[in-house]
Symmetry: D2
Subunit: 251 residues, 4 copies
């Protein structure tokens, strides 16, 4: 136990929180010391000796949670949504009074999804053409997915920064919608299919060759390795970290 | 030589005709006996003893070619385009006067493309969802491709015949075009990418499982095995055969 | 209710049986009338008016179940394993005394897996090369999977019947195992990867083109559509039916 | 013309050299000023004002070529094979006497292949499991391919450096070869299929998700964008550069 990281979980009774608790329990280098949910006292986190706390709660309570955690010098790994610049600034302010504390706020903990996006950005400027195909279960309300939209936007940005022109396209006769949606000049196609979960493919092509980067999320627990990555690294990153990518030290 | 099929090629000097000549030459059970092109006499085909003639010429001359071939009792394998019902009826008329002769007219000789279409039709009614993704080089003018359009229409037909309802789709917020084109209720997505040739994927999904049928055409010569299939089988199929599928005796 | 099929489930409390009950409940044309498990009386199935019974139980009890069901004129859809020729002959014997009753015994109810195999067999003789790649979670004990082994054997059989020679292979320097396992001349490759469930790809190739048939099973419930297919069709197929493929009326 | 790079090509009459000449001709920012082949005088390269020379010749002549080019202060982009440490040291020696000159020697100019390898290395330590599947035409003599072997070795190195253990694998019953070849603990599978060209897939998996990086080379000209990348960047990289990756400035 002496060598493991003492972890508390906020929102421990929720679906995601439960999966986090299981993952922390199962990992050899982390120990679950506190499960806190609605109605429980935040103070129990410090009392149980948590050095890192994972927060998958709700936008309504996450700011109070963070104020407490930072005040107590407890590092935080946050998957709760709803952070805008104003909220991030308040977190930065609290962190100034507790300079040794680290807070990670990430919109996506799926390591594969983050790498898919990072690699797409790195590769984008070397290929004449780039398109994104995302495939999800048919109950999804939005098309394209938020991740696909963001991936396309980042690709477009990387190409613009490198001075790469638009993907070639001689289409002169199109059945409405065939060529997909246009996100900053990058075509995005959304497939909805029973049996699927969440999948994304970035296709890049140039003279005689193509590169395909595909992420398949087959299971709701795919975020847990990313959460553990955060838990293991946040103590050595004081201040605010946005997204898990900086922790991944790519290249 | 005694056991090989004597083959003549019409349009022998063209790009496609050249590939056909090479394939006939290379196959152990066929012998190339005559190459005929613009300006050459059709009669040389009979004089050289061709028992089957392959025609990749032009809509302007193919009817004359067929009239000659059928009259001479030479079987024909035709990849030339431009056949409508009126033309097919004329061919059928000529065949009545030469009942032992076989004529195969096919829009697509790529065996993989034909099987992709056939399997999609067979499978369509067993899955809640079906979509088609086709991927081509960026010089293609039409989206979706003719093959993808036809595949989707055949899938829609098979589903209607089996009383299968529309694929489920909860999309309520769509960026224009993201969900692809709608061909009789089947969504079709067209990717255009440098480096690609011609590719098509039929995705079928139901509770907990998906089936994907993918055809990749990597090379302009992908039609030659289908032509040889025609050459080998047309003598035993008197009359008019449309498409290579009937020759494939699927199941 | 008048138009729905009255269904009983044997082994209703098991993991698979529970999923079958849910699927029968959810389908608009079937009604769950009886759940029977260890300790329950088989007679309740007839008493509750079941016209079809689904059996996912155990080799130790399935023969008693079938004797009862056939005697009572109840159609059976059986996913329980352990049937050898001797057992099948006993079932056939019982069916002779109840000629209107249908029994379906199937090793695999995943429609996609069955189609993948069927299409691979149909296509095998049209391509120079065929290989199978199966991909599973890393807890699987056998490599290749039973399904991949069977698929390869059926492909080999189809090619032999059509007189197709071996797939071309110029490999002269091989690192041990690189070219996979040899099942009757068909190469089979087994990938084991965390995150995967159960997947299989049949790759077929000829001059300039390839055809890929891929089945992805993402979820333990992927057998339920096949069970419902059995439930819906077994009444019109008196006698013994082996595998769901005959019910699928492919082409 | 004032703003374009003056390029000479050594081995200009060969298959590869011809493709390089065409690519240099077609690119808007490069001008082909000299084609040199066996029997031609190297001096014409300087006389025609070449500032960069591309060398796809033969191990027997490439060292003489380089000695001349470096002596003349002409930058070199070299795809010729056969460089060992001794040869590289001689090149480094010549470069010391011409410190402003850049020489790029690369075993692989296909940008997609290089990125596939680079991304596989970056991602390897974040996933429990990694395997490599390479797919080639059936005339290939070695299995696995050199690229796949190297990719697997680099993955193994990255995982070892990060302290990641072996990929989990519960296989207890294996048909010989099913699990592929073992390259430093990374399984590599080699598919040989008519119709294919050169393809490689790196599969990475962890809890509930997988990441797949796939490179498809569909055409012999897929090296030309990498050669142009070298031509455009080598002048600003004096000294010896090995592989195109350093020019790509990944992240």
């Amino acid at each position: 136990m002496a060598d493991t990281i003492a972890v508390g979980v906020l929102g421990a009774a929720g679906k995601v929180g439960t999966a986090v608790c299981e993952a922390v329990d199962a990992a050899p280098d982390t120990t679950l010391v506190a499960r806190v949910d609605k109605g429980d006292r935040l103070e129990s986190l410090a009392e149980q000796g948590a050095s890192v706390v994972v927060d998958f709660t709700h936008p309504d309570v996450v700011m109070d949670n963070l104020e407490y955690l930072i005040g107590a010098g407890i590092h935080a790994v946050v998957g709760t949504t709803g952070f805008d610049e104003e909220r991030l600034d308040r977190v930065r302010g609290w962190l100034q009074t507790s300079p040794g504390t680290g807070v990670l706020i990430a919109p996506n903990f799926a390591i594969g999804a983050v790498l898919c996006m990072a690699f797409a950005q790195q590769a984008a400027r070397f290929f004449d053409s780039v398109e994104v195909v995302e495939l999800h279960h048919p109950n999804k309300a939005d098309a394209p997915s938020g991740t696909a939209y963001r991936t396309a936007a980042l690709i477009a940005e990387a190409r613009a920064a490198a001075g790469v022109g638009p993907s070639p396209d001689a289409t002169s006769s199109e059945l409405d919608g065939a060529r997909g949606a246009d996100v900053d000049g990058v075509r995005v196609h959304s497939v909805r299919l029973a049996g699927l979960v969440a999948h994304q493919e970035v296709l890049l092509g140039t003279q005689g060759e193509t590169l395909t980067i595909r992420h398949d999320s087959l299971d709701r627990t795919s975020f847990t390795p990313g959460v553990l990555l955060g838990v293991r690294n946040i103590a050595s990153r004081p201040g605010l970290t946005l997204g898990i990518e900086p922790l991944m030290d790519l290249r």
